[in-house]
Symmetry: C2
Subunit: 430 residues, 2 copies
C-alpha cells in the first residue's frame, strides 16, 4: 500500500470507510485487554515459584556473619544479599544498601530527604525558592510523579538512541544551581528501550554541576533484562566512572528484583559513594530498624549467585521475546511504509515506544480504549502528562498472553490508521 501521506483526500476517505467498518466489527467483539503497565505475565511469575521453597521451617535463617535474619538489625542489609545485588548492579557490596520491596520507594525517600534535610549538609530543598530536575523525554511517569509531588519544576531534555542530549544537560546543570537532579533509565530505557552510549555515560560522570547537591538519579531497572543471548546492550558502570572522573558523589544508582522475582515482593537497593551512603544511613536509622532480611535471604538462596540470576533472566526472555517480536511484526505488517508512525526495536527492557504523527496519540489511545484495549495514557511519558506533540505512546507487551497481545496490536494499528487519516484529511482541509 502507498504511504498515507501520499494519498489523495479521496483515497484517504475510501480507506477510512473500510477501516471504520473493521473498527466496528472489532468493537463488537467486546475485548478487554490491558497493556497499560510494565507488568510481568503469569508465566513469568511462575518462574520464581520455587523461591517459595528455598526457606522452610527446617532452614537455618542465620547469615554468614551470624546475624539471625528473623530478628531486628542490619540496617544496610545482610552481607550475602549485598554481594548478590552487588554482582547484579556491578558494584562493591560495601557501596550497597538493601532496602525493602520497592526501588521507587527508595527514590521517593531520597528526594523526600533532600527536601526535608538536604543532601550532605546542603540547604534542604524546602528552604529554597525553586528546585528543578531535568527529565529526559519521553520518560517514566512514576519518576515524574515523584518530582511533581514535591513541587519540583521538571525540564524536558530530548532523548536520542544514545541517551539524553548531553550538550543541553551539561550546559544547564553547569549554569543553573537550582537544577538538583536528572532522572535516568540508562539501560533499555522506559519507554524507548534505548541504552546510553559510552560517550553519554562518560559525559554524565564528568558533569560540572553548579549545585553541590546535584545528583544523577540513575534508575538501572532493566540492567539484567536482555531479550537476546547474542545481541545485548552494554552500559558503562556509572559509579566507577564517576570515581575515575573525580566525581564520586555525583550519582545515586537504583535497582531492584521487582521484574526478576515478584513485583512487590522483591528487594530493592541503592549503590552510591561512601559519602552519600553515610548521608543515607544517617536518615535511615531514624526511619526504620531494618528491612526484611528473611526476604533478602530467600532471594540469595533462590539464585545462589549471579549466574543463577542470569540463567533465570534467560527464562524471562524466552517468555517475553516472542511478545516483543510479535508487536514489531504486526506494526511492520500493518503500518510499515504508511509513513504514519515510528517505533523502537529494543533488545531488552519492558517497553516499545511508538510515535504517531503529531496530534494523534491521545486520539489513538482513546479509540483503542473504546475497542477494549487499554494503553498507557497518552502524555504519561512526559512531565505533567503533557506531550507537546501529542505523539508518544508507550507499548507494554509483557502482561497479556501472546494471542491477546496480537489482537491488541491489531486494534492498536487500526486505531493509528484511523487517527492518522482523520488528521491528514483535517490538515488537507485547513
Amino acid at each position: 500500500m502507498k504511504p498515507y501521506t501520499e494519498m489523495t483526500p479521496e483515497e484517504l476517505t475510501e480507506e477510512l470507510a473500510a477501516l471504520k467498518a473493521k473498527y466496528k466489527k472489532v468493537q463488537a467483539l467486546g475485548m478487554r485487554l490491558d497493556m497499560s503497565r510494565g507488568k510481568p505475565c503469569q508465566e513469568q511469575l511462575d518462574l520464581s515459584m520455587r523461591m517459595m521453597d528455598v526457606l522452610d521451617s527446617s532452614s537455618d535463617l542465620t547469615c554468614e556473619d551470624g546475624t539471625d535474619c528473623r530478628n531486628y538489625g542490619q540496617l544496610n542489609g545482610i552481607i550475602e544479599a549485598r554481594e548478590l545485588i552487588g554482582d547484579m548492579m556491578e558494584n562493591n557490596p560495601k557501596d550497597i544498601i538493601i532496602y525493602g520491596n520497592s526501588s521507587l520507594n527508595v527514590m521517593f525517600d531520597v528526594i523526600s530527604r533532600a527536601y526535608t534535610h538536604g543532601i550532605m549538609g546542603n540547604t534542604p530543598w524546602c528552604r529554597l525558592p525553586e528546585i528543578k530536575f531535568l527529565c529526559p523525554v519521553p520518560g517514566y511517569d512514576r519518576h515524574f510523579s515523584i518530582t511533581e509531588y514535591f513541587g519540583i519544576k521538571m525540564i524536558p531534555v530530548a532523548m536520542s538512541e544514545s541517551g539524553p542530549d548531553m550538550e543541553t544537560v551539561e550546559r544547564m546543570v553547569s549554569e543553573d544551581a537550582s537544577i538538583k537532579g536528572i532522572w535516568c533509565v540508562p539501560k533499555y530505557s522506559n519507554p524507548q528501550g534505548y541504552s546510553y552510549s559510552d560517550e553519554t555515560v562518560r559525559r554524565f560522570a564528568r558533569l560540572k554541576p553548579a549545585a553541590a547537591d546535584f545528583r544523577i538519579f540513575w534508575d538501572n531497572a532493566y540492567g539484567m533484562h536482555h531479550l537476546y543471548d547474542d545481541r545485548q546492550d552494554y552500559l558503562i558502570e556509572i559509579l566507577a566512572e564517576c570515581k575515575r572522573a573525580g566525581n564520586p558523589d555525583l550519582v545515586y544508582k537504583f535497582s531492584s528484583t521487582s521484574k526478576i522475582t515478584f513485583p512487590g515482593s522483591g528487594i530493592a537497593a541503592v549503590a552510591t559513594s561512601p559519602n552519600n551512603m553515610d548521608d543515607l544511613l544517617n536518615h535511615l536509622r531514624h526511619q526504620t530498624i531494618g528491612h526484611d532480611k528473611v526476604n533478602q535471604l530467600r532471594h540469595v538462596r533462590f539464585f545462589g549467585d549471579i549466574h543463577g540470576m542470569v540463567e533465570h533472566m534467560r527464562k524471562h526472555a524466552d517468555i517475553i521475546r516472542p511478545k516483543f517480536e510479535a508487536v514489531e511484526e504486526i506494526l511492520e505488517t500493518e503500518l510499515g511504509g504508511l509513513n504514519i508512525g515510528t517505533w523502537t526495536k529494543p533488545l531488552g527492557g519492558y517497553f516499545i515506544m511508538f510515535d504517531t504523527m503529531p496530534g494523534c496519540a491521545k486520539d489513538v489511545v482513546s479509540r483503542a480504549k473504546k475497542a477494549g484495549v487499554v494503553l498507557t495514557p497518552a502524555g504519561a511519558t512526559w512531565p505533567y502528562g503533557k506531550d507537546p506533540n501529542d505523539s508518544n505512546i508507550r507499548i507494554a507487551p509483557t502482561f497479556p498472553s501472546l494471542a491477546d497481545l496480537c489482537s491488541a496490536m491489531e486494534v492498536f494499528s487500526l486505531c493509528v490508521k484511523i487517527s492518522s487519516i482523520k488528521k491528514l484529511l483535517q490538515d488537507a482541509r485547513s
Copy 2:
C-alpha cells in the same frame, strides 16, 4: 536489711566495701549480656518458623478477590490481611492500610509527609516557624528520635499508671496551635508497661486542639502482648471513641506483627479515619506501587484468624513470663525494702521500668556495662536523651536466656546498690 536511707555513713561505708568486693568478682567473670533492646529471644522466633511452610511452590498465591499476590498492585494491602489485622487492631478492615515491615517507618513517613505536604490541606510543617510534640515521659526513644530528626520541639508530659497527665495535655493542645502531635504507647507502655485508663482514652478522644492538624500518634505496639491469661489490661479502642466524640480524624493508630512473628519480616499497619486514609493514600501512591503482598498472605495463612494469633501470643507469653517474673523476684530479693529504687510490674509488653534514686541512673548503667551487662542507655527514655532526674532505666527482659537474665539482674541490683550508697554518702558529706 535496714533501708539504706536509714543507715549511718559508717554502716553504708561498710556495706559498700562488701558490695565492691562482690562487684570485682563479677567483673572477673567476663560476662557479655545485652539487655538493651526489646528484642524477642530465639525461642520466641522459633514459634513462627512454621510460617516458613505455609507458602510453597504449590501454593495458590491468589487473594480472595482474585488479586495475584505475586504481581504489582493493592496499595492498601490485600483484603484478607486487612481483615486479620483489623481483628488484631479492633478496627474495620476498610479503615486499615497494610504497609511494609516496620510501623516505625510508617510513623516516620506520616511525620515526613506532614512536614513536606501538610495534613489534610493544612500548611506543611516545614513552612511553620515551630512545631511541637507532647512526649509522655518516660517514653520510647525511637519515637523521640523521629521528632528530633525533623527539628520538632519535644515537650515532656508526666506519665502515671493511668496514662499521660491529661489535664496538662488538654490545656496545652487547646492553647498552643504549634503543638501538632503526641506520642502514645497506650497499652503496656514502653518502658513502664502501663495501660491508659478508660478515662484517659475518653479524654484523648475529646481533646479540643488549637491546631486543625493536631494528631494523636497512637502506637499500639503491644496490644496483643499479655503475659497472663487471667490478668490482662483492656484499652478502649481509640478510633471508635474518637468517632463517638465527633473527632473522627484525631488519631493515627499504628501496629505491627514485629513482635508477633519476625521483627523485620512482619507486616505493619495504620488504622485511621476515611479522611486521614485518603490523605495518606494520596501520598502513598507517589511513593510506591504497593507493599509485599506475598508476606501479607503468608501471615494470613499462618494465623488463619485472630484466634490463631491469640493462641500464638500465649506461646510467646509462656516464654517471656518467667523472665518478667524473674526480674521482679530478683529486684524484690535484692532491693526490696532498701528504699533506693522502684520498679513496675506490668501484665504485658516488653519492658519493666526501674527508677533509681535521683542522679544514679547513668552511673548504674555505666557500672553494669563495666561488668559486662549492656542496658538501654540512661536518658534514652526521655526526649533528647536527657532525663532531668537521671533516675530512669528501661529493663528489657525478653532477649537473654533466663539464666543470663538472672545473672544480669544480679549485676544490675549490685550496681544499683553501689551507686545508691555512693550517692547517699556524697549527700551526707555535702
